[in-house]
């Protein structure tokens, strides 16, 4: 399979985002060599809890990583752009998919679902949303660590409200 122009463009973009300083690619008689001059031009921005542009910061943060992230991490993007690989170390916002009263800990047993520093697996319950005595489980969209919880226990949350920020785990 020959590399097309679009393939090469894509490789260049990924190379730029990665922490690699050199790339030597051979493919069926074609050869592509890429090399970065000096330090990366993209600044290293620390992943912050109140990132307002996770997609943009994800690009910047990628440059600081030692691994190449090609997969969408599954985090909910703030502006819904899923064509941008979100595999950076920026914390992802978990937004309320329902309206109601959000419980960070179980009202009956006191089991804590969400608190800063807690490690969670994808699909794990990180809170309960209550509306009219019906409880719905809110699940973590990624495996990672809860950076911060943006609402108080038993706060009313409108649809779309940011409930917490989860720092996705590094990919294997």
């Amino acid at each position: 399979m020959e590399l097309e122009l679009t393939d090469i463009e894509r490789i260049i973009v990924l190379f730029e985002r990665s922490d690699l300083s050199e790339l030597d690619l051979k493919n069926n008689g074609q050869r592509l060599r890429l090399k970065k001059a000096g330090a990366s031009a993209i600044g290293q921005e620390a992943a912050s809890g109140d990132s307002s542009n996770p997609a943009g910061e994800a690009e910047a943060a990628c440059a600081a990583k030692t691994k190449n992230h090609l997969r969408d991490s599954g985090c909910i993007e703030k502006d819904g752009r899923s064509d941008v690989p979100a595999g950076g170390m920026t914390a992802a916002e978990l937004k309320a998919p329902l309206t109601g009263v959000f419980h960070t800990k179980n009202p009956d047993g006191g089991l804590v679902y969400a608190e800063p520093g807690k490690k969670v697996q994808k699909g794990e319950t990180v809170g309960l949303m209550e509306a009219m005595k019906m409880m719905s489980e809110i699940k973590a969209p990624v495996s990672g660590t809860i950076v911060s919880v943006e609402v108080g226990d038993a706060d009313f949350c409108e649809y779309g409200k940011v409930l917490m920020l989860i720092q996705p785990d590094e990919d294997m």
Partner: protein, 463 residues
Amino acid sequence: MFRRILIANRGEIAMRLIRCMKEMGIESVLAYSAEDADSLPVQMATESVCIGPAAASASYLNQAALVEAAKAASCDAVHPGYGFLSENADFAALVRENGMAFIGPDPETIRLMGDKEKARELMKKNGIPTVPGSDGLVDTADEAVRVADSLGYPVLVKASAGGGGRGMRRASCRDEVMAAYQDARAEAQAAFGDSSVYLEKEIVRPHHIEFQILADRYGGIVQLGERDCSMQRRRQKMIEEAPAGCLTPRLRAKMAKAAITAAKASGYVSAGTVEFVVDQQGNFYFIEMNTRIQVEHCVTEMETGIDLVREQIRIAAGMKLSVRQTDIHPAGHTIEVRINAEDPQQAFAPSPGTISFAHFPGGGGVRIESAVYSGSRVSPFYDSMIAKLIVHAPGRQEAIHKMRAALEELTIEGVRTNINYLYLMMFQRDYLLGQFDTSFIEENTEKILKWEKACRKKAGLTG
């Protein structure tokens, strides 16, 4: 009086409610879907809360979200507007159970009047003429044929859980009854979860005449005159007016009395509408009762000078009606047209999109009810009505002239609308003569569309 009311609706009726509450010094909390985040009501309400995504089922019909939002915002009451949950007895009950007032009738009344067959039976019992029909629900196709034969054709098979023109099938002869019966039952089951149907003789070329009523909790009941809503397309009202030219004073008085009886018989509280059909011979028949404020309530407001939404809120807050029957004097003539984002030339297909420019007419006797502003969006998720234009003048011809002038000035760009269609309707001979019934629009649409094309061609306009 309430301090804070949650508005469980959107668009022009949300604006109507916000404005009334502002006048009354009541705070408004507007529940909106993510789709409506940039809408005018969100900006004008005292507070707003997002209760779900675009789909109505997850937002404007989401009872749990709405009640939770109302409680969280410390609302004393909930106003459901029209459509959505306004005639949902369960929602009315849920609001009450959670310590808030529901601005509308009691859940029991909503439930009773929502059962169209039961409502019919109640009216019959109270001496109100109903359309000749089956004696209760019709349970088998054979019975349907028997009943249809005895009534005479054409007949309508109507869903008891339906209303507003939905869940109906027509049979114009004996051979069509079986199919109409089965189709109606299937559609009723699918649409309302209840396949109960009854039969009515179809009144040919009727006028659709409805009476506005108000009732408080102290036995005060008034009727505020009628509205002629015969100008319908596929049972959707397009143009409404008052007074109805087909009513003699005697007939009007009889129907007004029947409307009051209907309100009393159903223990009605709040604003409501009693719908009748009037046949070509001047006989009137009860069809159904609408237990909500209606789209066309503004027509009655212009005729009587009474603020119906204000009365609704007062009634719900436990106050008496601010008017007695002797205070009500409909005067002049009022016409309302519904401005929809649709393309009449493309079978009235909805035309969602962004309104790049909006200009509304003004002047004496011209009223606009809309949530549109230049740059606002018309969503494909909700119905296509974007504005109501209502004019009031001393007489019908003057009202028509005023409507023409207003429609000429009204400008909406960015989406297709029915403005030109409505404008040309204001020049239709039979409409001007007041000679129309519920089949008028269907019968004259082609003519009007051809006329519009010819006009545009002559003016050198393309597209």
